[in-house]
């Protein structure tokens, strides 16, 4: 067996993850609370945080804003492909390292596709300010899946052949059944999963439209899960077609209704990307990669996060016309009756 890196569980070990669920209150109870309360109860220094969504789709942006407001320390961020979620967290570390710090990132991709590269990723990595471990989209998704399945590892083809297997905790074995090489990836069991969905009930049952991304796997693998939703609906409506439920209530610890909770990213059926705002935010970070001043970025955080009480106040800063246009763009993508 090729042993590439010393095995360290960077979230919960499989046994600890199991124990966390065994002792958890799994009752069907009202889990509505404020985002402030959810973040202060469930995000702790040193936590491994699983981030839901995919690139700029259905990222838990409102949750990251609240984390920045409250401050966070020594976090490990785990995700497949993410964009504004880690950008907001990392940008905060760039302007207020005393208040916000990321220790490590386990990822497949951090960038914004058509909207550009991630300047915060470049800044942190190229200065050696964080640890990181590269995986692929399938690798990270399969690692969350293994965590959700309650097994310590999962075999995949993904990292074979290239260097990902050499810079990660992948182990390559000869398959005991075929004799061919196969990669084994360690399960990921985050301490807390951050998920934004289209609809939830007060118990935490969730319905997702469009891609499931890896949200169910993250929620099921994590010791705790915070859910924000565009629409908070009655339990009766939510369970009217039980097979629609992507995440079941016992996996969820907090439910918060946050319209535009993934903005300026997109959320199927609700709003399309606000690319201008994404680009504008990135343009405040980019100069810092070349040694520029943090003042403009700091001013953005002061105005949009530290200077407001909650995410609703941040959304209020956008022109209503723009918000409606982004909703209209999305209703073009999936035309339907209201």
């Amino acid at each position: 067996m090729e042993n590439n890196a010393k095995m360290v569980w960077t979230g919960l070990s499989p046994d600890d993850a199991r124990e966390a669920l065994v002792v958890k209150d799994k009752s069907m109870r009202d889990k509505r609370m404020t985002l402030k309360e959810a973040v202060s109860r469930f995000v702790k220094p040193g936590d491994n945080v699983g981030i839901g969504g995919f690139v700029n789709i259905r990222q838990p942006i409102a949750i990251t804003h609240e984390m920045v407001r409250q401050g966070f320390k020594d976090l490990t961020l785990s995700f497949q492909s993410a964009a504004m979620g880690p950008e907001i967290l990392a940008g905060a570390m760039m302007v207020r390292p005393d208040h916000c710090s990321i220790k490590r990132i386990e990822l497949a991709y951090w960038g914004h596709e058509a909207f550009g590269l991630s300047p915060a990723w470049r800044y942190l990595a190229e200065r050696g300010l964080i640890e990181f471990e590269d995986w692929s989209n399938y690798n990270m998704s399969a690692r969350f899946k293994a965590g959700a399945m309650g097994i310590p590892f999962i075999p995949t083809r993904g990292p074979l052949g290239g260097d990902i297997k050499n810079t990660s905790r992948t182990k390559i074995i000869d398959c005991p059944f075929t004799g061919r090489k196969i990669a084994l990836l360690p399960a990921s069991n985050p301490n807390v999963g951050l998920i934004h969905v289209q609809a939830a009930d007060m118990y935490g049952n969730c319905i997702v439209r469009g891609t499931d991304a890896t949200c169910a796997e993250i929620a099921m693998a994590s010791a705790h899960t915070i859910v924000t939703c565009e629409q908070l609906v009655s339990h009766e409506l939510l369970v009217s077609n039980p097979k629609d439920i992507l995440i079941p209530f016992p996996a969820v610890d907090a439910v918060i209704k946050v319209p535009f909770g993934a903005y300026p990213g997109a959320c199927r059926r609700h709003y399309y990307f606000n690319g201008e705002h994404i680009r504008e935010f990135l343009s405040l970070i980019a100069p810092m990669c070349k040694g520029g001043s943090p003042d403009a970025l700091k001013a953005w955080y002061d105005e949009h996060i530290f200077g407001v009480e909650n995410f609703e106040d941040y959304i209020e800063k956008f022109q209503t016309k723009k918000l409606i246009a982004d909703q209209a763009a999305e209703s073009y993508n999936c035309e339907r009756f209201a």
């Binding site: 991630s118 990723w121 052949g161 260097d163 810079t167 090489k181 199927r268 999936c334």
Partner: protein
């Protein structure tokens, strides 16, 4: 079929990429120019092409236009199957994807791609000279699609004997059965499309081989822009320039907002 006189380097890549795709095949489409090329193929010679996007959509008709992201809402509408990332990659690993269509920042003569970092490796991995976004799904497509089509802008700095990091494995070191022996599936890189021409990978050596030059380029000019020795097919031909109609479709129908295909400065 009048020939376009003002097409750009990206537009000829898109046209070439579309032409490599075959009708009625499943193509796992990476972000950027592969999306534009796939949509052009669907709207020209390959209406039965079935795109798969890694966020989970299988076979969407893309009636609402070019997706900005491989997780774009436009990929979900009308899809025949839609789960999440595990669902998409499991299909690929199982053998449902005839083609994988990906890009990279750096390529070597065996079609291995780098989209992770530039700098010293392994010593500089933790503090790279330039940090790139990372694999995304590209390394999974490279490991498990039956054949892969690669897009890399042609530049001597990007065509290197040795990559800083192999993100998406191609034919590895070119040795016989290298991919199979590493545990991978699929035949590996099938075509490479650059800003200067189209390449295949010679059967025995698995080395990059020039098969078509783009207009304005010669075997010599392409070799001069490549950091290793290219093989050249005996019957290398010039790739026909895009037609006016193809360029019009890209500009007016496929990517009218210039999301991935940048407009030439006027």
């Amino acid at each position: 079929m009048t020939v376009s006189t003002d097409y750009t380097a990206q537009e000829i890549i898109v046209v070439a990429g579309a032409k490599v795709l075959e009708n009625n095949k499943i193509v796992f489409v990476g972000t950027g120019l592969p999306m534009v090329a796939s949509l052009l193929a669907i709207r020209t010679h390959a209406p039965g092409l079935i795109p798969v996007f890694e966020a989970g959509a299988v076979g969407p008709p893309l009636h609402h236009g070019l997706p900005i992201s491989v997780g774009d809402s436009k990929t979900f509408t009308g899809a025949s199957y839609l789960k999440g990332l595990n669902g998409a990659f499991e299909l690929t690993q199982r053998g449902f994807a005839d083609f994988g269509f990906i890009g990279g920042a750096e390529v070597d003569m065996y079609g291995n791609l780098n989209s992770t970092m530039m700098g010293d490796f392994p010593d500089g991995y933790g503090k790279p000279k330039v940090r790139l976004p990372g694999s995304g799904g590209a390394s999974d497509m490279a490991a498990s699609c039956d054949r892969t089509i690669l897009i890399v802008p042609h530049d001597k700095k990007k065509f290197n004997e040795k990559l800083s990091y192999i993100t998406s494995p191609g034919h590895l070191d070119g040795s016989p059965n290298a991919r199979y022996n590493a545990g991978m599936q699929g035949k590996g890189p099938y075509r490479l499309i650059t800003t200067k021409g189209i390449f295949d990978f010679e059967e025995k050596t698995k080395r990059m081989r020039l098969i078509h030059t783009f207009p304005g380029e010669t075997v010599e000019s392409i070799q001069a822009a490549t950091g290793f020795e290219l093989l050249v097919a005996a019957d290398v031909t010039q790739f026909a320039p895009p037609t006016k109609e193809e360029v019009r479709m890209i500009r007016e129908e496929v990517d009218p907002l210039g999301i991935f295909v940048k407009r030439a400065a006027k």
